[in-house]
């Protein structure tokens, strides 16, 4: 401590301490508050404060206890390291708070980007649920009325958090601006999107996507898949679930990828369920949930309206994982 500058502070501290020890009747607690505020303004660190206490003790009392003085030296050294750690921690906490606020804003923006009302159509009852693992989601879904047909997209950006969420926003705009989007074939749409993703995304990022279209006039559901976790098709006539198998490279793996198109006739009472791998990669007691367990959950609730099926399945899966998802989770149900 530079003696000249510090002298007035030390004097103030020593006098206040002396009055406190002497139980002076004019002493008030506010004086401590004022002094500590002043010292804080002067940038006196906690270890310097302990040093000040040591010096004041030495100067005030004729015969201060040696052990007490030594212990104050000890405390001063201790405080020096401690206050550094403390300050660093405070700075990190502030930084964290700032980042959290930024992420909250970004998450709101993202929510506004994806959220849209489900189309109301006379021929299908539709339910959808999508929950991010953290604040931002790498899942994307879109269910729209496309010239009288029902077009449904579900996608999973590989990776999590903010990078995945940014990529998701890009996909949304790419889809909105595709010329094929109007009445286009699912395979053509995936090929176009693949070119966009391949050109614009980091080499370690890729996207799995399922695209399907239902035509209420022909009752045909056609779909193509870019490496996406297969959904389920429920045949009411046979009371049986099968995987909606479709093969295709994930978007962004290789340029000029062609996609196969699959189609099936949909009868009244049939259902289609689409999901992201957050649904089937859910861990239960260190093990993964099998797809057939997801089917069982669906079976237990498929008499309900679609919106309630998706909520029921989500709730049961969340329960299995102690109410937190390790991965983004999206689940869509369509009852015809």
């Amino acid at each position: 401590m530079g003696m000249i500058e510090d002298e007035p502070r030390l004097t103030a501290y020593r006098d206040l301490l002396a009055r406190y020890v002497a139980q002076d009747s004019t002493f008030s607690v506010e004086e401590i508050e004022r002094l500590s505020e002043f010292l804080h303004e002067q940038d006196v660190s906690p270890d310097e404060l302990v040093g000040m206490h040591h010096d004041a003790l030495e100067q005030t009392f004729a015969n201060p206890d040696r052990a007490t003085l030594q212990s104050l030296n000890f405390l001063m050294k201790m405080m020096s390291g401690y206050s550094n750690e403390y300050r660093e921690h405070q700075a990190l906490k502030n930084r964290q708070k700032q980042l959290d606020t930024e992420i909250d804003v970004a998450a709101e923006v993202q929510k506004a980007l994806i959220e849209s009302d489900l189309p109301s159509c006379a021929f299908a009852d539709i339910g959808a649920v999508s929950v991010p693992a953290k604040k931002m989601s790498g899942d994307y879904y879109r269910i729209v009325n496309d010239d009288g047909r029902l077009a449904v997209t579900i996608a999973d950006i590989v990776g999590k958090g903010i990078p995945a969420a940014m990529c998701m926003s890009m996909i949304k705009y790419a889809m909105d601006s595709l010329p094929e989007n109007k009445s286009g074939a699912p395979s053509a749409i995936l090929s176009s999107l693949n070119r966009v993703v391949e050109r614009n995304v980091d080499p370690s990022m890729f996207i799995t996507m399922f695209y399907g279209v239902y035509d209420p006039v022909t009752h045909i559901f056609s779909n193509a898949s870019a490496g996406h976790e297969p959904g389920f098709y429920y045949s009411a006539k046979e009371n049986h679930f099968i995987d909606l198998q479709a093969r295709g490279l994930s978007l962004g793996l290789s340029p000029n990828t062609q996609y196969s198109e699959y189609s099936r006739k949909i009868d009244p009472g049939d259902m289609i369920f689409l999901l992201t791998d957050g649904v089937t990669e859910i861990r239960k007691d260190h093990d993964f949930i099998e797809r057939k367990q997801v089917v069982e959950l669906i079976r237990g609730s498929m008499h309900l309206p679609a919106a309630r099926i998706v909520r029921h399945v989500m709730y049961e899966l969340k329960k299995m994982q102690q109410f937190s998802f390790a991965d983004d989770f999206t689940f869509i149900a369509m009852k015809f």
């Binding site: 999590k160 980091d202 370690s204 870019a226």
Partner: protein
């Protein structure tokens, strides 16, 4: 959460990278650092061994995709061994298996 990455030289331009532990969003960068430089060896032959890998999430897949693309660009052969059935299924669904097969059979032809 830790992984250990063993890099072994098996012969002229022949490398083996073995990963022990869990590859996730925290450990994937380490794998990337250990793996990618080896994919840039022109005419190299690189194998990623996942026998001791207990768990991998989608970020790990991302690293493998980046390695595959880089290997293909540098005409380096790249293969993956020791996949558990679950990881194998993930590779098959996403189409990564097809891409890996291409990387092995085409001797790293850059025209994929």
């Amino acid at each position: 959460m830790n992984i250990s990455i063993e890099r072994e030289v098996k012969g002229d331009n022949l490398y083996l990278v073995a990963v022990e532990g869990e590859i996730d969003v925290f450990t994937a960068p380490e794998l990337k650092k250990g793996l990618l430089p080896l994919t840039e060896i022109h005419g190299g032959n690189l194998t990623l061994d996942l026998n001791a890998t207990k768990y991998m999430d989608s970020t790990a897949l991302g690293v493998i995709v980046a390695a595959l693309k880089s290997a293909s660009k540098h005409q380096c052969r790249f293969s993956v061994t020791g996949m558990t059935p679950r990881i194998k299924r993930l590779f098959e669904i996403t189409g990564l298996s097809d891409l890996l097969n291409r990387a092995q059979t085409s001797e790293g032809n850059a025209d994929d």
